[in-house]
């Protein structure tokens, strides 16, 4: 496994590499969700690259960029064990040197929900991923379904900019009690951790309501909302088109139940697909 720090080293390292090449972009602090993406990439690609970069551009001024978990040495052990060929781990001044000014703006798909709560977040995600895609030139790239709006944004960008990369999305990996894996779960204390699965139960309740015939989003969401109790504070709970993130007052599958809630100073997000029934 090679670990490189600048785009020129990436290009040199990838000269003559076997294809197809799979890329798993990460912010490090790897958990079983990341490892599932890497395993899938390893299974179906001749070579696997992983990027490790905590991207300041996608954090707001009052967000957790500074305290976001970093575990570089432990991450490298896991990546080596997972059979990764190349790790690209640039530092911030390599990605954003003085004078850096270009932004990739994904448009309306990034404006609601997480985009509204985190102004500039999806521009930051779209910009850093465009850079990673340009540097590494993968054939495929792998993302977890947990960050569903990020997936919708990147699908838009990859299509619109003709990047020619297949975007592969794997199901959210969960703890046994349903909590979606997230590097931010490390922020939760014992009481918060015990309360955290309620968000997933709320989404499940929405999906169940729809499965039982409810087509009105407001009523379906109310069924979910009943699961969100103190100490959890709802931020949003809704049903959207999974491609556009436009809310669907009248639910037409395939749709997506999405939710976010605070536990103390940690904001969790999660989602559950609403599948078309035949």
């Amino acid at each position: 496994m090679r670990v490189v720090r600048i785009p020129a080293e990436v290009r040199a390292a990838l000269t003559g590499v076997s294809r197809p090449l799979g890329l798993v972009p990460t912010m490090g602090a790897l958990h079983a969700g990341h490892l599932a993406l890497i395993r899938r990439a390893r299974d179906e690609s001749a070579a696997v690259a992983v990027s490790v970069f905590v991207n300041p551009l996608q954090f707001g001024p009052n967000e957790d960029f500074e305290r976001y978990p970093r575990a570089f040495d432990d991450d490298m052990v896991q990546l080596r064990d997972a059979g990764v060929d190349l790790v690209y781990a640039p530092d911030v001044t390599t990605m954003y040197p003085p004078g850096f000014a270009t932004a990739v703006d994904p448009g309306p798909v990034g404006e609601r929900y997480e985009g509204a709560l985190r102004p500039g977040h999806f521009r930051g995600v779209a910009t850093v991923c465009t850079k990673l895609f340009a540097t590494i030139a993968p054939d495929r790239t792998y993302f977890g379904a947990k960050d569903a709006q990020q997936v919708a944004v990147l699908r838009r960008v990859v299509t619109d900019l003709d990047l020619g990369i297949e975007l592969i999305v794997l199901p959210t990996v969960r703890e046994s009690d349903g909590l979606a894996l997230s590097s931010r779960n490390a922020y939760l204390d014992a009481e918060q951790r015990a309360a955290a699965p309620a968000l997933h139960r709320a989404l499940d309740a929405i999906v169940t309501a729809v499965r039982n015939g409810e087509r009105n989003a407001q009523r379906a969401v109310e069924r979910g909302r009943a699961e969100l109790q103190t100490p959890m504070r709802e931020v949003y709970l809704d049903v959207v088109d999974p491609r556009t993130f436009v809310p669907e007052p009248e639910i037409h599958a395939p749709a997506l139940a999405i939710g976010s809630a605070w536990l103390g100073t940690t904001r969790l997000i999660d989602n559950e697909p609403i599948e078309a029934t035949s």
Copy 2:
């Protein structure tokens, strides 16, 4: 010479093509300026691609997108004679299908002068060029110095997005009386055509003033302004940093004298470098 219309055909046509690959992006209506770019690409690259696409995204609502000159059959003859290997000529719905929403924003370098006069113009240029670069994946791309702010914008984008493409800029090709070649010169009537070289004379006067020791931009520009007479109507005449397009009140070479003027309903632009003297 192959002429292809969609990204997948470009990728198929370029599989196994010799490298380095040079790309000359154009809006068609080819003139000797374009041909100089293609000749240079042909001289120094193993394969040459030319894109021909009149990009609606870089035209404002009251601009000349509809009447912009189109000469596809004649262009193809010239490109074949010039030894071009691949022509990418997408139609508008291939480039911008329904739902298209992503924009590449180059930031401050695209906000003054042409960017202020043509809101959205450089976002359109940056977006279409990012798409062309992603589709064709050239090693080098060639632009004329006449569109100097476009060059500054694309230098920013290529650097910031880690596109790994060398941007090569060739001097403006001129008529014998100094008028910069432009597809828009076709709009000029005989009287306007006779008056048109005044813009280049104005820029030359600025460069001469600086060469003779003038360091104050306002005074140097006044020397140029004296050349701009009826029927030409000045839009701007200034001295800027060629990388940032920030005006330089106190001129430090290398700098760039830039100008734009109306002749009837046609707006001309031009520029002249102010070289460092040893």
